[in-house]
Symmetry: C2
Subunit: 209 residues, 2 copies
C-alpha cells in the first residue's frame, strides 16, 4: 500500500555520536536530504539550494511568521532552520526524511510534526560519558560538576523521545534504527486508515457492482 | 542493560497465516514457549506440562478466580487458557514470549498485560481475503455476504493493536516482526527508568565516593 515517508529525527547529547550514525545510515538507506536555510553569508564554493538556502534576514523572518520551519534557531546573530514545506512534500511522496539535530531543535520539530520518529542517541555508557567529560580537562571539581550536571540534565530529555538507541557500535545502532523504521511503517496509527479504506472499497464493490 | 523480555502477541483474522508466521519466527528467534492449560482429557501420548497443563475444572476455575490467566476461553465445554505467572516470570528473566492467538484472546491479554506487543496479521490483500471466502464455497449470495461481513468486522479490530503486518510473504512478515521487536526494545517507555537510574547511580557515585 502507498504510504507516507517517515521523518526520522536523530538527536541526543553532544558526544553521543549522532553524526557518525547518520552518515552510516545515509550509506545504507535511501533518504531525502533536507537542505537547511540560513541567513549567514555563503562561503567559498557553497551553492544556494545545495549546501544551504541562503536567505536574507527579512525573508527568513517572513518564513518564521508563516510557520514555514520545522525548527529554527539563531546562532551568533544568524538564523538556521529546516524548511517545512519541502520536507513535508517529500514525506507525502513516500520519501523518508532524516534530520540530525540537537535536543532543543528536536523538541521544536516535535511540536510542529509530532508524527515524526524521535530517536535519542545515548553514549555507549554513562561511565563513558563521564570519562569523556573528565577527558575534556576541566580543572576544578566545581567546573567538572557543572559539566556533569549539564550532560545529565540533557539525558533527562530522553523521556520526550520515542526511542533510545545506545551507541555501543555504529553498526548495531544503525541496525536498531533500521528496525525502528520497519516497525514504524507497521504501526497501526500510521496504516489504519489505509487498511479500513481498502476494506470499505471491497465491501462497496461487492455490494454494488 | 538488563531488560525485561517482550510478550509478542501474534493475532488476526483466520486465514491470514498467523500460524505459518509463528512457526517461521520460532525457527529464527529464541522465544520462551508458553504451555497452555486445559480441562480437556489428555490424548494418547500427550504429556502434562509439555503439550498442556491438564487441570481439573475446579483447579482451572480457582486459577480464574485468582486472575492467574493472561486469557482463557471455554470451547465445547472445556477451558483453555494461558497461565500468567510462568509467562511473567520468563519475561522478568529477560526472555521473549510469543503467543499465537485469535482476536478475542488477544484483546483479553491486552487487558491483563497492556505492555505486550500486539501484532495484527493481515492477509496479503483484501482481494485475496475475498477470494478465500468465495473459495470456501458458500452457496447463496446471502451467506457469502454474512461471511464477508464477519471477516470485515474482524479486520476492524486492527485499531486495538500496536502493529499491522501484511502477510505478503512469510519471509517479509517475519522480518517485519523482528524489526518490531528491535524497535520495541528501544522504546523510551521501556528503557527510560534504566537510563535515568544508571545516570543517578553515576551522579551519586561522583558526589559521594
Amino acid at each position: 500500500m502507498d504510504q507516507k515517508g517517515l521523518l526520522v529525527v536523530i538527536s541526543g547529547p553532544s558526544g553521543a555520536g549522532k553524526g557518525t550514525i547518520c552518515k552510516a545510515l545515509l550509506q545504507e538507506n535511501d533518504f531525502w536530504l533536507s537542505v537547511s536555510a540560513t541567513t549567514r553569508q555563503p562561503r567559498n564554493g557553497e551553492v544556494d539550494g545545495v549546501n544551504y538556502y541562503f536567505l536574507t534576514k527579512e525573508d527568513f523572518e517572513e518564513k518564521i511568521s508563516k510557520n514555514d520551519f520545522l525548527e529554527y534557531a539563531e546562532v551568533y546573530g544568524n538564523y538556521y532552520g529546516t524548511p517545512k514545506s519541502k520536507a513535508l512534500e517529500a514525506i507525502n511522496n513516500g520519501n523518508d526524511v532524516i534530520l540530525e539535530i540537537d535536543i532543543q531543535g528536536a523538541l521544536k520539530v516535535k511540536e510542529t510534526y509530532p508524527e515524526g520518529v524521535f530517536i535519542f542517541i545515548l553514549p555507549p555508557s554513562m561511565e563513558e560519558l563521564k570519562q569523556r567529560i573528565i577527558n575534556r580537562g576541566s580543572e576544578t571539581p566545581e567546573s567538572l560538576m557543572t559539566r556533569f550536571k549539564s550532560a545529565y540534565k540533557e539525558i533527562n530529555y530522553v523521556s520526550k523521545y520515542n526511542y533510545a538507541v545506545v551507541n555501543d557500535t555504529v553498526e548495531e545502532a544503525v541496525k536498531k534504527i533500521q528496525g525502528i523504521m520497519v516497525a514504524e511503517r507497521c504501526r497501526v496509527d500510521r496504516v489504519k486508515e489505509k487498511i479500513l479504506d481498502s476494506k470499505e472499497g471491497i465491501i462497496h464493490e461487492q455490494l454494488y457492482d
